[in-house]
Symmetry: C2
Subunit: 526 residues, 2 copies
């Protein structure tokens, strides 16, 4: 196991110019871990951004196959991180070892999936319109388009996925795949973990001959603002709170050159339990839903925070069953004291609202999070009250009972943008409520039938995104291969000789990729 | 010829609730045309946005083939606009009839091209990952992704393309193709033209059974702010000045729900004239370049505003030749008095700068724009002076002489983002300056070899975009079929039965589109 020295990673070197020391904390005990990290100075933030900018021309011009080698090498390095590493992550996050082992595999698998995307070549979006020299009244020139990386990307990782959404997580993987060097702001909740992962990335970069500065990492509080405002940074990836994400968006929009921010923020992930499903399997739904609410102490972006159903004896019984289950759930340790504090405040907001009733869950106190169940008046959704719109991050959910199908629509329409929405139903339900799909499409990034939103598959078809405030830009996803699109932009070549064109656009199609040629998708050479 | 009544277009009705009357002006005489337009009241802006929102659920759920019918019908209606219409556009814009006739064809052709895109189906971005029920440790659910429209789009047209970038122009076509209803802010420079075109769109909408509110148009000054801030509006397309575009971006970013703005703003479109080309064809380059500078009174986003060359006797002779040509060019009438005023101010800025020399062009005065040639010290680019960065919209260009290849790089690196860059050279030049392509790729949306940037082909491969300040978001293009991407977002369906999936994602692939299935592009059914 390598030594944790807590120096910033800048241009392939380590740097500890600052005087401010930040500490990593044992999430279970609240005690300092024996590691010190040097908060980056403003000069170091500048150097990290410039190192990324300096790497950009070389890195983006490497073939996609070479970048794929780099991602595969990162994956291999991540896989070699052993039990001692897992134990360390568990100490910093209070997450169980089996979860971290799974997440390690998910993170390396994600890197390898982006390597596949690079080799597949559809990310280029290659398009060719051949010259029409005889066209009247004007000839058409030869025009060819592909996509290149935007430039250096600043990434802010999540606390709740210390591997898969953090240092070498989805945003970093997508940016690196796109040809964009990364400056990563280490999450204060798992800085020792971040150091191990950064070492893995740097080792992979050196092993595969990547330019120094392809990956940089800085420690500390308050360094994010300087990073986002740095002229060299061309895009931002963020996973975290609505407040934090919106602050970054506002900063980025106010720059002399505004840049895009892809922030995954707040989602209450409504689950609609339909009548016939309640008829035939209310108890199993209650069991599954309860498991989804408390899984990982509810610390998922896709945690189901709202459960909607139509008033009926079945739905009343379902609520009682769910309340009993929630009362049986043990308290769990959260990722860090800040998360626990936010959970407490979020619960307090629900407890103190006159139109919200507490149905189940022990008093929230001490050092762990107590699962909770609430019930809210549907008028909160119908009349645009904010209280149900922002997620309470942790093991809690809120039931909303509606009068009928019409009110169900109105309640769903009252929701702001979401990462997910879920319909639990039988075939007869889906026939009766067939219009819900189109309604929910306008609200969310992913609609599930008879599943639970926790558990986000990393694949080509995944959308982990959605309208504001779920994310800052509904056109992106932060999970799955489409995430690469956020960091690419198109460039067109007019009247270029073959020798000067990038391989993706050469006549012979040396990469063997699919291209849109005169409006037809073909893999052939021209 | 239909009567121009100057009422706003709201939800398929005409509305004239306001008291403020705005007038259209004869661009040649400066006199009022005999048409009155009713500036939209704030209530009318609200109604227009709500009409678009109300049309959205129906419109976006129409099949792509139905939307294609609508676009084709708009194209047919545009083609029937006859000589009286052309004469009217000419009166409002001072553009010649042959140009307007060409632009009419370009505009209807653009609509038909987007109809083709809708029928082709690649805009769906359909992706399918089939369920893997036996996968360990966890099964994979069935996941399918396609793209849907963002919602109502506000469009602000350009003055310089009263048809192709205006009411039924590229932004409107792309938004309507994407399934997004449009609220169009009629350009004050050609409101009568806008009324004719809006009538064509409304006729097409009625003829093809589109929902009322699919297209709305409002007149007046100052209505744009209320439109961009309206909660129903989900994206903005804009073509115009840096100041205007940036103001819209700032408004959109400050909304409770920020929305994307695709603003095409300011570009000086550098042209690099390489040494061997000057050796063999300096005079023809000077002729072509001069023609590109003064074409359409220089009123093109892609007008070449900067000409770079390496110091030599040939380049000196070229400058003299270009100066002589510019001195021979007649003054031309601009689109409107505002444009002429801005041109005058832009010239004054160049005249008064101590590091810029005036090489050719008669004194700017009177009611027409006089073509001009300037020469600027390369240090303005090397040291980040703002004076050369923002375009002077009109028939003028600035020569920058560099010492050598190294200084050429530095000068190009000193440029902000551009729509285009052009290299004029012989094969030997491209061998010697082969690194310029990679350098310019980072600066621009389109690189041309031995062409001139005026003239933007509408096709799949075109990029009319580029880094800030050329546009507000380098990831988009406002010309060409990729423009549809700006108004689409992905949605994922998890574990959906075939009957509830959209056609684009059904097993049988009833649309016959190409889809990425388990990482392979296929057109087959599953």
């Amino acid at each position: 196991m390598s030594t944790i020295i807590g120096h910033n990673y800048i241009g392939g070197q380590r740097s500890a110019a600052g005087k401010v020391i930040v500490r990593s904390i044992d999430a279970n005990t609240g005690e300092n871990l024996p590691y010190s990290f040097y908060q980056a100075t403003l000069e170091e933030v500048d150097s990290a951004a410039l190192a990324a900018a300096s790497a950009f021309p070389t890195y983006r011009n490497l073939s996609a196959a070479r970048r794929a080698e780099f991602l595969d090498a990162i994956a291999d390095e991540l896989d070699t991180l052993g039990d001692d590493f897992v134990a360390l992550v568990c100490r910093e996050t209070a997450l169980p070892a089996v979860r971290i082992q799974g997440e390690r595999g998910r993170t390396s698998g994600q890197m390898r999936l982006f390597a596949k995307v690079l080799r597949r070549g559809d990310f280029y979006g290659a398009r060719i319109d051949l010259a029409l020299p005889e066209r009247k009244p004007l000839p058409r020139p030869d025009l060819r388009q592909y996509r290149i990386g935007l430039g250096p990307v600043a990434v802010f990782g999540a606390s709740n996925f210390p591997l898969a959404f953090s240092t070498a997580g989805g945003d970093s993987a997508a940016a690196l795949a796109a040809g964009c060097p990364v400056v990563f702001k280490a999450h204060s909740g798992h800085m020792a973990t971040a150091e191990y992962v950064a070492n893995a990335i740097i080792t992979a970069a050196e092993r595969t001959g990547m330019p120094a500065g392809v990956f940089n990492m800085i420690y500390g509080a308050g360094v994010g603002e300087a990073l986002v405002k740095h002229p060299a940074i061309q895009a931002v990836g963020f996973t975290g709170s609505l407040k934090g994400g919106r602050a970054l968006c506002d900063m980025a929009a106010a720059r002399p050159q505004p840049i895009p921010v892809f922030a995954e923020m707040s989602s209450v992930n409504p689950v609609v339990v339909l009548p016939q499903a309640l008829n035939v399997r209310a108890d199993s739904i209650a069991n599954e839903l309860c498991a989804s609410v408390v899984q990982g102490c509810g610390q998922f972006c896709t945690n189901p925070g709202l459960v909607l159903g139509i008033r009926s004896t079945n739905f009343s019984a379902f609520q009682q069953r769910l309340a009993a289950l929630i009362n049986d759930q043990p308290a769990q340790t959260m990722l860090n004291p800040g998360t626990l504090g936010s959970y407490g405040k979020g619960l307090q907001k629900l407890h103190s609202h006159p139109a919200i009733e507490h149905l189940a869950g022990g008093t929230q106190q001490g050092s762990q999070a107590q699962p909770q169940l609430f019930k809210a008046d549907v008028n909160l959704l119908l009349k645009g009250d904010e209280v149900l719109q922002e997620e309470v991050f942790g093991p809690t959910t809120v039931i909303v009972e509606v009068a009928d199908q019409t009110q169900l629509h109105a309640a769903l329409n009252g929701l702001q943008g979401q990462l997910t929405a879920t319909l639990i139903g039988e075939p007869g339900d889906f026939a009766q409520f067939s219009e819900l799909t189109a309604l929910l499409e306008q609200k969310v990034g992913r609609i599930l039938l008879n599943g639970y939103p926790t558990g986000v598959e990393v694949c080509d078809s995944m959308v982990h995104g959605g309208p504001y405030p779920a994310t800052s830009d509904a056109r992106g996803t932060s999970v799955g291969t489409l995430a690469i699109d956020r960091f690419l932009r198109p460039v067109c070549f007019q009247n270029f000789p073959d020798s000067l064109l990038p391989d993706a656009l050469k006549d012979a199609n040396p990469l063997g990729i699919s291209r849109l040629v005169d409006g037809q998708a073909v893999r052939d050479s021209l």
